[in-house]
Amino acid sequence: MSDDSGGSSLSRVQSYALVVAAAILLSAVLAPVAYDRATAQATAPDGRVAVISVEGFISSSSVTAVQEDLREARENESIDAVVLNVDSPGGSAAASEQLYLAVQRTAQAMPVVASVKSTGASGAYYAMLPARDIYVTPASIVGSVGVRGAAPGPSLPGEIKSGPDKASATTDQRRAQIETLQRAFVGSVMKHRGDDLDLSRTEVAHAKVYTGARAVENGMADEIGSTPEAIRQAAAAANLDDYEVVRKEPQRSGGLILLSTDDGGTVVVEQSPAGYDAVDTPTFLMVYGEVQTTDEVIGNVSA
C-alpha cells in the first residue's frame, strides 16, 4: 500500500512533469507554424504591388494577355497598386485603345504608375495615359501622339465587288478615318495630361517623340526614375508602408509572332479558293518608327 501510495505520489509528480514536457514539445512544433501563418498575414505585406509588363508591338493578342493581368489586379483583393513596365513603340490603333481602356479601368480602382524602360511611344503612350505618374529615364522616349495607315491601293483586276467601297476606300475616306482616330488619341492626351502639359493641343498633334528629360520638362512624363521608383511611388499612393511586389511577365511567344499574320494586319489565307495569296486588311497603326511597306501592306513593324 505504502508502495502503492508512494508510487502513486511519485508517479503523479512524474506524470505532471511528463505531461508538461509533452505539451511543451507539441507546442514547440505547432507554435512556429502558427507564428508563420500569422506573420504571413500580419507583418510582411500591407499589400501587393503588381508589376505588369507591356512590351513589344501592341497587337490584339498581346493586349489580351495584359488585359487579363489588369483584370486580375482589379479582382484580386491582395493587389493594391499596379506598375506598368512599358517598353513598346506602340502597335495597332484598335489594340492600343483597348489597352488604354483596360488601364483606365484599373486606374479607377487602384493607383497605377507607369515606368518607361526605353520606349513608350504612340500606342504605348496612349496605354499609359491613365497612370497617375509616368516615370522615364533620360534616354527613354515617349510621345509620338499620332496615327498612320496605308493609303488605299488599286483594287484587284478581274474582281467582282458588291459595292464601290467594298474592297478599299477612297483617299478622302481614309484621311477622314485617320483624322477621327487622331482626334480621339489627342483628346485622350489632353484629358489625362492637359493640366501638366506645357504643350498645346496642336503641338501634341505634331506627334513628336521626346527624350525623358524633355518629357518631364514639358509634362509628357512626370518623374525621372526607373521601375523601382515607380513601384515605390505606386505603393505610397496606395498607402502601403510594407508591400510585396508581384511581377506579371508577358507571355513569351517569341518575337516573330509579333510581326506575323494575325497581328500585323496581313491575314494569310491558306489554300485560297479565290486565288488570292493574301488579304491585306487596312490597319491603322499607332506606332513609332520605321514601318516596312511592301506594296500596300503596312503592318509589319521593325521596332
Binding site: S8, R12, S15, Y16, V19, V20, A22, A23, I24, L26, S27, A28, L30, A31, P32, A34, Y35, R37, A38, T39, Q41, A42, T43, D46, R74, E75, E77, S78, L101, Q104, R105, T106, Q108, A109, T170, T171, D172, R175, A176, I178, E179, T180, L181, R183, A184, G187, S188, M190, K191, T202, A205, H206, Q292, T293, T294, D295
Partner: protein, 344 residues
C-alpha cells in the same frame, strides 16, 4: 489515478492552447494589418471618344468645272517627255475641260520631234512635275514661246522619295527626287521652295491638305474663296503676282515657320502652281478647286500667241547660257524677270 488523469489532460490542453495561441496572436501585437479590399464596379466615361467630338467635317464635294473664255480651237501642249511625275489620268479634269470647250490637247513625248518644234504649233504649254532637266535649247524655246504670247502653266510638287528596285526583303534603294522646275521657273522669276506646306489648325482632314486663299483680285482667282491643295510646295517670287497663299496657320515643313506662303503665282504669260494633286478628279470638287481648274483652263487659252514661235534654228534664235538647264538647288530666291511679259 482518476483525478490526476483528467487534470493531466486539462493541463496539457491549457499549455498547448496558451503557447500555440500566444504564437498565433503575437504577430498581431507586433505588427498591424489594415485591409481595405472593397472593389466596386468600375465604369469609365470617355467624352473624348464620342462621335460628336471626334468625327471630322468633310468638305462637300460639289460644283462644276466650267470655262468663261469664249476662245476656241486653241492647242494646249502637255509635257509628258521629261519623266513627268504625273499621269494623263491625274490631269484629266483640266484636259477634259479644255476639250469640252473646243480646244485641242497634244502631248509632247520627246520622241519624234523636239520640244521647240512641238511648241511652234501650240498656243499653251502645260508642264507638271518634270523629273528630267530641260536643256538650254528647250529653255530658250519656252522663253521665246512666252515672249510670243504663248501661255505656260507650270505645276510642281514637293521633293519626294522614289523607290527604285524591288522592296522585297527590304532591298532596293530610296532616291530623293525633286521636280526639275528650277531653271524653268527662274526664267520668269519664280522659284520652287523646298519642303512641303502644312497646317495643323485649319485643314481638310490632314495636315498636308492645306487651304489656300486669294490675296489679289486676279483672273486666276475669280470666284475662288478657298482651294484645297493636298501636298503643296511654296513658291518664292520676286516680281510675280502672288494669287493664292496658304491660309493662316500654314507652316513650312523644313523650317516649321508659319508664313504667307504662295502656292499660285502669275508672271505675265506664265503661271506656276505649287501642287499637282488638286487637279485630279478625286480632289477637283473639294472646296473651290473646280473654279480654280476652270480659271487655269481659261488662262491657258486666253493668250494671243504669234504663230511660228519659237523660231526654227538658223533664224534669229535667242540662246541661253548652257548652265541654265541644271535642276540645281531649290529654294533660292531668284532675280526678278528680265523679260517683259507678253501680251495678255
Amino acid at each position: 489515478m482518476s483525478a490526476p488523469n483528467s487534470r493531466l489532460a486539462v493541463v496539457f490542453v491549457v499549455i498547448v492552447a496558451a503557447v500555440v495561441g500566444g504564437a498565433a496572436v503575437a504577430p498581431y501585437a507586433l505588427g498591424s494589418a489594415d485591409d481595405d479590399g472593397d472593389s466596386g464596379p468600375v465604369s469609365v466615361e470617355n467624352q473624348q471618344f464620342q462621335p460628336g467630338t471626334i468625327l471630322p467635317d468633310e468638305t462637300p464635294e460639289e460644283g462644276e468645272i466650267s470655262m468663261e473664255s469664249d476662245a476656241t480651237g486653241k492647242t494646249v501642249l502637255v509635257d509628258v517627255g521629261h519623266e513627268n511625275g504625273i499621269t494623263k489620268t491625274q490631269l484629266e479634269p483640266l484636259l477634259s475641260t479644255l476639250v469640252e470647250n473646243g480646244h485641242r490637247v497634244r502631248f509632247y513625248r520627246g520622241q519624234r520631234q523636239s520640244l521647240n518644234e512641238s511648241l511652234r504649233s501650240a498656243d499653251a504649254f502645260l508642264v507638271a512635275s518634270p523629273q528630267q532637266r530641260y536643256t538650254s535649247d528647250e529653255l530658250a524655246g519656252v522663253e521665246a514661246f512666252t515672249d510670243a504670247g504663248g501661255r505656260v502653266l507650270v505645276m510642281g510638287d514637293p521633293p519626294s522619295v522614289q523607290i527604285s528596285g524591288g522592296l522585297l526583303f527590304g532591298l532596293g534603294s530610296l532616291q530623293p527626287s525633286a521636280p526639275r522646275t528650277t531653271a524653268l521657273g527662274s526664267t520668269y522669276g519664280v522659284a520652287y521652295g523646298s519642303g512641303y506646306l502644312y497646317n495643323m489648325d485649319e485643314n481638310d482632314n490632314n495636315f498636308k491638305s492645306i487651304y489656300a486663299r486669294p490675296t489679289a483680285d486676279t483672273d486666276l482667282t475669280a470666284g475662288v474663296d478657298r482651294v484645297v491643295m493636298r501636298e503643296a510646295v511654296p513658291l518664292r517670287t520676286a516680281g510675280a503676282t502672288r494669287a493664292l497663299v496658304g491660309a493662316d496657320g500654314t507652316h513650312l515643313s523644313t523650317t516649321r515657320d508659319p508664313g504667307q506662303y504662295a502656292v499660285l503665282v502669275r508672271s505675265g504669260n506664265v503661271t506656276a502652281v505649287g501642287d499637282t494633286g488638286f487637279v485630279t478628279r478625286e480632289n477637283a470638287y473639294d472646296a473651290d478647286n473646280d473654279v480654280l481648274i476652270g480659271n487655269l483652263a481659261d488662262f491657258l487659252v486666253s493668250g494671243d500667241k504669234q504663230p511660228g514661235a519659237p523660231t526654227p534654228p538658223g533664224a534669229d534664235q535667242p540662246q541661253r547660257p548652257p548652265a541654265g538647264g541644271d535642276g540645281g538647288s531649290a529654294g533660292q530666291p531668284t532675280p526678278p524677270p528680265t523679260r517683259a511679259p507678253g501680251p495678255a
